[in-house]
Amino acid sequence: MSISEDKIKQLKEMAKSVRRNLLKAIYEGKMGHPGGSLSATDILVYLYFSKLQIFPEDPSRKDREIFILSKGHAASALYAVLAARGFFSKDLLKIFGKINSSLQVHPDMTKVPGVEISTGALGMGLSVCVGMALASRMDGSKSRVYVLIGDGEMQSGQVWEASICAPHYKLDNLVAILDYNKIQLLGPVSQIMGIEPVAEKWKARGWEVIEIDGHNMSEIDEALEKTEEVKGKPSIIIAHTIKGKGVSFMENTARWHGGAPTEEEVKRALEELKD
């Protein structure tokens, strides 16, 4: 069953609000990663508001589904989504990146309800999900494990190790989503350390590969639905995204990989993201 127009509208509104909140958090914290947080926002909003079986009032409930933000640099987006979903108060976003804060610039699972594993040292999340998917299967659970990885991360060896491990164990309860915004800290991924052909690489390693526009809610919906029919192998959704999506001057540039906007800049950004 495809997603309704109403639901899409609702999710789009939510994504806009999450974008505003994450930018405010980064502005307050004077540090963060706006580019990769904005590129991941629509995927996160879809997962948390239309997909994951999760329980904000009991975050560790045994039958929950798991999402891991392997690209921990997009923490501001994850926090804004978790707050909107009721894991903690939105007021908390004001302490993002500040001393004594539970909201570290990269998520710390011991400090934040809803964060399944601490990430930020890139390249590690997919392996963790392999372990979780194996444990889940061992327990006879039907719960699925989702992980968002970055394209910069795809350069790391551990991702490749995990990419042969998940098909080896036929983990059809594992879904990876690649936030393919094509820009990393110092410039275009293709110039720094090219990863193409991405789809072929994952296919050759035994994954079901689906390519989508990572800002299109109905494509995200359709792709995730499709992964549920895949048997005997893991799935990866290659989500083509735009770094800095939603804020004109932050789009498609490495300039906004990391750092915080000035007061003037955040005003402009919030103006663009008005309802």
């Binding site: 399944e116 040292a121 392996s127 963790v128 372990g131 979780m132 491990c165």
Partner: protein
Amino acid sequence: MGVCEQNMIGVAAGFARMGKIPFTSTFGVFASRRVCDQVSMLIAYPHLNVKVVGAYSGIVSGNNGATHQANEDVAIMRVMPGMVVIDPADEIEMAQAVKAIVEYNGPVYLRLTRDEWPLVSPPNYQFRIGKACIVREGKDVTLIGSGMMVSQCMEAAKILAQEGIESKVINMSTMKPIDVEIIIKVAKETKAIVTSENHNIIGGLGSAVAEVIGENYPVVMKRVGIKDIFGECGTNEELLDKYRISPKHIVKAVREVIKKRH
């Protein structure tokens, strides 16, 4: 899990987060050097209940040479906040240590050798994390060893006894958290300590003991260990001799500390 140690540590973290008690098993060099960041960030930082096991610890690595000699694993693991580091002395202690770390909820590094070493644990021995064991009584000097070096300390104690020097021998199998109490006690009693480790003398048992006596009750001490150099191939006996961690080198160190003691 294949030659994918980074992935293995991640998988273990995932298992632990789901309530399992994973043991990862590989050579000590890979468990420490290769996956240092993974162990630190995925296990120590979130304080997950993973037991990292490293075999072929130290210089005695089945004639595989420097590539397989984990002479820095204790140092690497010891600096990770919250990590427990255990180097059992013999198979009796190993069996008990495995049970104890299953009971303990938190990250542990367990160091193994793959060869047989003499038994040193007393009858009715009961291993406890963080508790050292006196395996030989003596009043003249204290030998503190970990892992297979405890048996080398016992050998050294025999030689010293023939010279009329009675050594107290301590099995410091848990190097973190270290048994501070017993170190201060033996420092007061014998006023001379020799540590022996199958590890670089930097960052391992000798350093840990020196930290305790330096801050609490300074006495003369000497560290027997690998002198900050890489190893090579050879039989265990040849390696212990060449890298100066055999019983005769412990004996030499004891003579030196006794001479220096006031």
